[in-house]
């Protein structure tokens, strides 16, 4: 088994507030980690550290993958004043083979000419998740992917993630809604 | 080198120069401004430190 991520004694603090201390875990390919914790326990910070946006205060993190990370955060990375089609090309997935089927699956196929600002929040979230569905990465980092999604889309997401895990990809995510994926739980609590 | 330049206090206040102008107003206002602004800055910091000290206690 190849280890995609190995974290040793990670600590992080913002302005002298300690969020987590001496956190150690490892992530194999084909495995998933579900980060749990109360509000303000540092879930988002941990995911940002893993994706390289933030630097940990202490500890080491070893990354072992070839391609880019697929990171889905709170922010959608969508341009409100552009149409869905333009946004797809900005995300560099307009030519992907599976694009059409996923658009149909999520019910976005009729909305290609609509400006993103005119979509509902859930639709925007689905559009943002297309970047995940058509990803080209070994490591998937998801921060609260289910917020604003209806039950049907959540199921689609779960099936997709299970398939990805079977395809030897690694997944680390935080979610308040439990997802139907076999995942190891990492509990973050305030020190 | 260490002799008083001015003969009386009023001379020192008015500071008449050899060209006849009185420069005392300028010199003394600058002295006043400099000393005052430094003193005020000192005061402001001292009180602020005192206040924050009370808060911490």
């Amino acid at each position: 088994m190849k280890k995609i991520l190995v974290a040793e004694n990670l600590s992080y603090k913002i302005n002298d507030t300690k969020l987590f201390q001496n956190l150690s875990f490892s992530l194999n390919e084909g495995a998933a980690i579900h980060i749990l914790g109360s509000n303000g326990s540092g879930k988002t910070s941990l995911l940002k550290i893993i994706s390289g946006l933030t630097k940990q205060t202490k500890g080491e993190i070893e990354k072992n993958y070839n391609k880019d990370i697929c990171f889905i955060g709170h922010k959608n990375a969508l341009k409100q004043y552009l149409t869905v089609e333009d946004n797809l090309s900005l995300l560099e997935i307009e030519a992907h083979g599976n694009l059409k089927s996923f658009l149909q699956l999520l019910g976005l196929d009729k909305l290609l000419d609509v400006m993103v600002a005119n979509l509902s929040y859930g639709q925007q979230k689905k559009l943002a998740l297309l970047r995940l569905f058509l990803n080209n990465s070994d490591l998937l980092v998801l921060d609260e992917p289910c917020v604003g999604l209806d039950k049907k889309s959540q199921d689609i997401l779960c099936t997709f993630l299970s398939d990805e895990l079977n395809a030897k990809k690694a997944l680390i995510f935080s979610s308040h809604i439990s997802l139907d994926i076999s995942a190891e739980v990492l509990q973050l609590d305030k020190a | 080198m260490f002799n008083f330049k001015f003969n009386s206090i009023s001379d020192a206040i008015f500071m008449q120069s050899s060209n006849g102008q009185y420069h005392g107003l300028y010199v003394w206002s600058v002295v006043l401004i400099v000393l005052l602004s430094i003193a005020i800055t000192f005061l402001v910091y001292k009180t602020q430190i005192k206040n924050i000290g009370k808060k911490i206690k």
């Binding site: 302005n15 | 120069s17 420069h23 002295v31 400099v34 000192f42 910091y45 430190i49």
Partner: protein
């Protein structure tokens, strides 16, 4: 190794204790030097041949403008240390020097303007040094407002340090360019390399006032940094003991 050394000796705690011990000595010596030099300069020196008695403002103006520029240099130095070695104390120092710099620049500007009335016949001139001092003043205020607009202090420290360093590159350029643009101001009275252009009897009190004023400003910086440390470390246990 250097990093370890700096971190050991630059903890806010040791700094505060050392500085508290030195403060009264610095304050009283520099105050007496400053007042003595002012007395000497204002009453004992003979009047200037060209400017008359108004030249005595030099003993107040030159120290202030010298300090206002040196303080910026000190800030740039502290910022570099902060960015390279991540020393917290130097970040505090940068933030605490800025308001003191603004005060001294203000003194330099006002005293210069008043000095200008009898000597140039105008209180303001679009002249190289005046403009660059004014810009320095605005920059000090800008630095303060930049730091204060961020609630996240660590971010604010980083941005402040970056801006200080970019500004320090720019200050000599501003000075050169404005000088190139036009100049009316007299050339510097004292430079390091050349023989001073003014009489020794006027020079000694000038040096005295510069040294004394520097000491007073150092005291102000100490107070300001103390306030900064107390504000930023108020949750630490040693601060409670200290107060």
């Amino acid at each position: 190794m250097i990093k370890k050394f700096i971190h050991q000796f630059a903890s806010p705690k040791t700094y505060l204790f050392q500085v508290d011990r030195a403060y009264p000595y610095i304050f009283y010596t520099s105050l007496s030097i400053y007042l003595g030099a002012l007395f000497w300069g204002l009453f004992l020196t003979s009047e200037d041949f060209v400017q008359g008695n108004s030249y005595r403002i030099i003993y107040l103006h030159v120290p202030a403008s010298f300090i206002s520029q040196s303080l910026y240099l000190a800030m740039a130095f502290a910022s570099a240390i902060f960015l390279i070695w991540k020393v917290k104390l130097s970040a505090y120092l940068v933030r605490s020097i800025a308001p003191i710099g603004a005060v001294t620049t203000f003194i330099a500007l006002v005293s210069g303007a008043i000095w200008g009335i009898p000597t140039w016949g105008t209180w303001w001139a679009w002249d190289a040094r005046i403009i660059s001092t004014l810009i320095l003043f605005i920059m000090y205020l800008g630095l303060i407002s930049l730091h204060d607009s961020f609630t996240d202090n660590e971010k604010a420290d980083k941005f402040l340090a970056i801006l200080v360093i970019v500004g320090s590159v720019n200050i000599p350029i501003i000075k050169m360019s404005v000088e190139w643009w036009s100049t009316l101001h007299q050339t510097a009275s004292i430079t390091v390399t050349e023989k001073p252009a003014i009489d020794p009897s006027m020079l000694y009190p000038l040096f005295g006032s510069i040294i004394g004023f520097t000491g007073i400003v150092v005291c102000l910086v100490i107070l300001s940094s103390k306030l900064q440390i107390l504000k930023r470390e108020k949750n630490k246990s040693w601060v409670k003991d200290y107060v």
